[in-house]
């Protein structure tokens, strides 16, 4: 009994994370932010953040294409190719635009083209981070 009392006195209070229910704005911002970089922030009136994300992601994506980076297509082959595709598709509408226009054929004879491939993948990954950030703003987890 005394032991239990002593334990309860010394035990640290449990940290309870507040719950953030899924909201329509959160989901809308997530999808919008994924499709168009920065749009998830812009629809929530975070104009400057949205604009900076838009410029950053587009700059990386188009510089990657300009360096003759490769756009991956859906595949079930090599693990790195699958991961490349997942990174690419993070860019949302930019990925589909590039596929429709047949951009990003790659160039194995040029070292810079490999950097370009990485630029395109990272642009997609940064866009995913931004879309999730917009979701957090939408559900009230972040200001």
């Amino acid at each position: 009994m005394a032991n239990e009392t002593a334990k309860s006195l010394t035990a640290k209070p449990a940290i309870v994370e507040p719950e953030y229910p899924v909201t329509a704005m959160g989901v809308g911002a997530l999808v919008a932010g994924w499709l168009i970089p920065g749009l998830g922030h812009i629809i929530q009136k975070r104009w400057i953040r949205g604009l900076l994300i838009f410029v950053s992601v587009l700059t990386m994506f188009f510089f990657g294409l300009g360096m003759e980076g490769k756009i991956y297509t859906f595949n079930t082959g090599d693990l790195l190719e699958i991961l490349g595709f997942l990174g690419n598709i993070g860019a949302g509408a930019l990925y589909f635009l590039a596929r429709v226009q047949e951009w990003g054929q790659g160039n194995i004879h040029r070292a810079l083209a490999d950097y370009g491939t990485k630029f395109i993948i990272v642009a997609g990954l940064l866009n995913v981070i931004s879309a999730i950030d917009a979701y957090h703003i939408g559900i009230g987890k972040k200001k």
Partner: protein
């Protein structure tokens, strides 16, 4: 459209764009975002310089 960048300028462009997004997404207040973005850029830039010196030393 072909873009010609040196390895160094490509690394700096990468650092700039990534730092902007990291700053915005990882912090809450605008001032903290700026500070974190600058810190990330500095870390990227420093990493490039250190890595290039290590490669130079390995080569020589």
């Amino acid at each position: 459209m072909n873009i010609e960048l040196s390895h160094f300028s490509a690394a700096l462009l990468f650092a700039l764009c990534a730092s902007v997004v990291f700053g915005i997404t990882q912090k809450n207040a605008p001032k903290e975002m700026m500070q974190y973005g600058v810190k990330c850029f500095g870390m990227f830039f420093g990493g490039v310089i250190v890595a290039s010196w290590i490669m130079w030393l390995l080569k020589h």
